[in-house]
Subunit: 169 residues, 2 copies
DNA sequence: GTCAACATGTAATAGGTTACATGATTAC
DNA sequence: GTAATCATGTAACCTATTACATGTTGAC
């Protein structure tokens, strides 16, 4: 299967978050928090918006200065079903999807956190196993100190993340 | 300027860490910790190794079953000067470079941690400012709850990271 | 008036993935 | 013997970046 494209959903999510956005404004949005999880240059954004309009995901509204894009009912459904797709272990889409959830009481919020928790608990188990098997002696630590640091740091980081997920479930 | 290629340095770093590796073994390595920071498929690895051999960064050693690659003195220098390039704010190469430092007493270790600390302190300041400006009222939080969560989580995460960097300096 | 920022678009290129191919070895 | 894994390589395709291009608006 071809690799799943994320960009159109990101644009859809951004437009949905803000109500309406121009291509230029979207490119500026990537300088903010969402830029931590996804990025796109204007040369990608404009053609993508045109495609999305063709597909009926968005409609445009021109004020003579900028072309703004608004999400359609169809687009809402498309965004929603993308958000509802289960998180894959490799995808790293948790934060991105979270960013697109506006309402605190949206049931998807808890669902995403639960999914992420399960994935991260597995990962934590795996990392701890790796630490034991790879660094079974002080000699291993000394000879691959950088690797040792990032592995122990990863365990700390994931432990903190799991703790946060648990308090927000 | 064209975007800086990372892949050859990653292959060089992996070969340097392990002594010698075949193309196949390198592709397997990406299933381990280093895969968190970089990935390459075998169709990228084999041609890249051939180029690196042409450039004199590595030499090969065939046992009839696999072709193993070993780093040359030239390759050592190339790897070292890449590791010594200052970290860029956007690059996210800290963990990757750390992974390639074998010796605990290598002065580069402290240097990398110091650089990362500076970058992350700036980022933390920026995130805290964003929190104040974007979420100045409860209404903003309620209407963009996902965004609020990832922003507050990012502040927590970076705070922890800074703490870790400080204890490892 | 000119420099930065706003605003949109296309073309060339690089980087990376999936698919296509092939053959050897090992475990069952 | 046959399925999984080892092992390497190329071709086609897609994505995304940089460069090229152009015009407007607002600040100083």
């Amino acid at each position: 299967m071809p690799k799943k494209r994320i960009l159109p959903y990101v644009l859809l999510g951004l437009i949905n978050n803000k109500g309406k956005l121009s291509g230029y404004q979207i490119s500026q949005e990537f300088k903010n928090e969402v830029g931590e999880f996804w990025h796109a240059s204007h040369s990608q954004i404009y053609p993508e918006l045109a495609r999305m309009k063709d597909d009926g995901w968005v409609k445009d509204e021109d004020d003579g200065k900028s072309t703004y894009y608004l999400i359609t009912d169809n687009g809402q459904q498309v965004l929603r079903s993308w958000l509802e797709e289960p998180l894959s272990k490799t995808g790293e889409l948790f934060s991105l999807k979270l960013y697109f959830i506006k309402d605190k009481s949206d049931s998807l919020l808890k669902s995403l956190i639960r999914q992420e928790l399960e994935i991260k608990l597995d990962k934590l188990t795996h990392l701890k196993k790796r630490l034991k098997t790879v660094f079974f002696s002080d000699k291993q630590i000394e000879q691959n100190y950088g690797h040792y640091l990032i592995l122990t740091r990863a365990i700390e980081r994931e432990t903190n993340h799991v703790k946060w997920l648990r308090t927000n479930i």
